[in-house]
Amino acid sequence: MKNLVKKFNGVTAVDGISFDIQEGHITGLLGPNGAGKTTTIQMLLDLITPTSGMIKIFGKEMKHHREELLGKVNFSSPYVALPNNLKVWENLATFARLYGVRDIQGKIDELSDFFGIKDLLPKMTSTLSTGQLTRLNLTKALLNDPKLLLLDEPTASLDPDIADRTRKLLQKIQKEKKVTILYTSHNMAEVEEICDRIIFINHGKIQDDGMPAELIKKYGRADLNEVFLTIARGQENQEAKDFETILKK
């Protein structure tokens, strides 16, 4: 993306962001709440129209090749549930049709086996646990064999055991299916573990960009969590000020 800007009623949410993602890598997009991560991802997915700037995926501009590009991209977030009133199989079949999957049954069998949700297929989506829903979301996200996968906090609200298994699964996907992944998370240890590169954004601007080890060394900190705090607190942050005011009271 190049010089991407998004303004809502005069307020700038994304302020001239430019970055490339290397194919086959896991790139972390990090930043505090309200930094502009979600807006950036939603622009990448053509859910929000940028005020200015350009988004190119696989060398083609999103504005002119939406259908083709979205066929090669997928998205997963625990905050975006699949319809609860459908069975697991029905949800997967619906999205398989939307992505034009030829062998729907075969693809669902293959992926449900991979994610261990085969026995959940006849169940109503509303009856699934949080961990099962995460695996269902990931199954949906791989139905079209995406070349680019956008994962928005995929392990949020999971217990440490399931979160760890999910991370391992994501690394397996990336390794076996050669998927490029753009990853957002507030869990810095997780990001440090699985991301090849990190882009820090705050106030809608890129604050830093590099490999996790490089950034830790550059800021002279013990880990990525401290780097995050340094970058996030190094700037004017209204939310942080609000917290300080509350603490003083």
């Binding site: 998004k6 809502f8 807006t39 939603q42 997915l45 053509d46 859910l47 929000i48 129209t49 939406r66 259908e67 083709e68 979205l70 066929g71 991209v73 997928n74 998205f75 977030s77 975006v80 549930a81 699949l82 319809p83 609860n84 009133n85 459908l86 069975k87 029905e90 079949a93 619906t94 999205f95 398989a96 049709r97 939307l98 992505y99 034009g100 949906k140």
Partner: protein, 262 residues
Amino acid sequence: MKWHRIQGILMRHLYLYQRSLPRLMDIFYWPVFNLFLWGFISTFIDKFNIAGFNAITVLLCAVIFWELFGYSQHAVSISFLEEVWEKNFLNLFVTPLTVNEFIASSFLLGFIRILMAGSVMAGLAFLLYHFNIFTLGFFLIPFVLNLLMFGWTIGLVSTALILRFGTSAQVLAFGFTAMFQPFSAVFYPVSALPDSVQFIAYLLPSTYVFEGMRSVIATGHLSLENFLLAVGTNLVYLLLAFWYFHRMFALVKEKGLLMKLD
């Protein structure tokens, strides 16, 4: 437009109909209820020869037509609201699904609902009142298709308004067609309306449909004038509705409201 994506959305709704009693009731309960109500009234009028014409035929036909119009609109609006209620827009629009494919699937759903409800109503009308809609020939079909089209238009406009103003506008999905009933000359000819209201009536495709329907019942022939006027006005309104929906969709994407619909 890709058929597999239209089919995907269509199937997603048909899965729900398989096991949802409220959704099935929505298709069958109200048509049956109205058929009973208006059937009894028509029988009463016919028995005492109050109207001086075949009341059962005219009134039952009008009731069936009006219900079908409502179903066509509901299918478009409710299938959209289903996605709002399930917060499913993000999932749908991160796929290659286009707005026109989404609209086409809801139009098809409207057609299927009309077929289902229409068959039930026609069957019941025959069983209860010995009223066979098919003896009126195939001349009624072009008018039914016009109503289907006008239902799509109203559905599209109400959906665009919900898209723009949020679910506080969702009441439009349920009662929008009722606004057109007094002006559409459903149960009476246009001449029964005051002069000032007749002007509004003639702007609506539904008026030509109901005038045409009565003409078919009275003469047994297709009223070409009413049919062409219905098609003409329908096409104009449908194109305007498409333009308005696309305009609202673009505006919502610009304002970042697509994910905030609830």
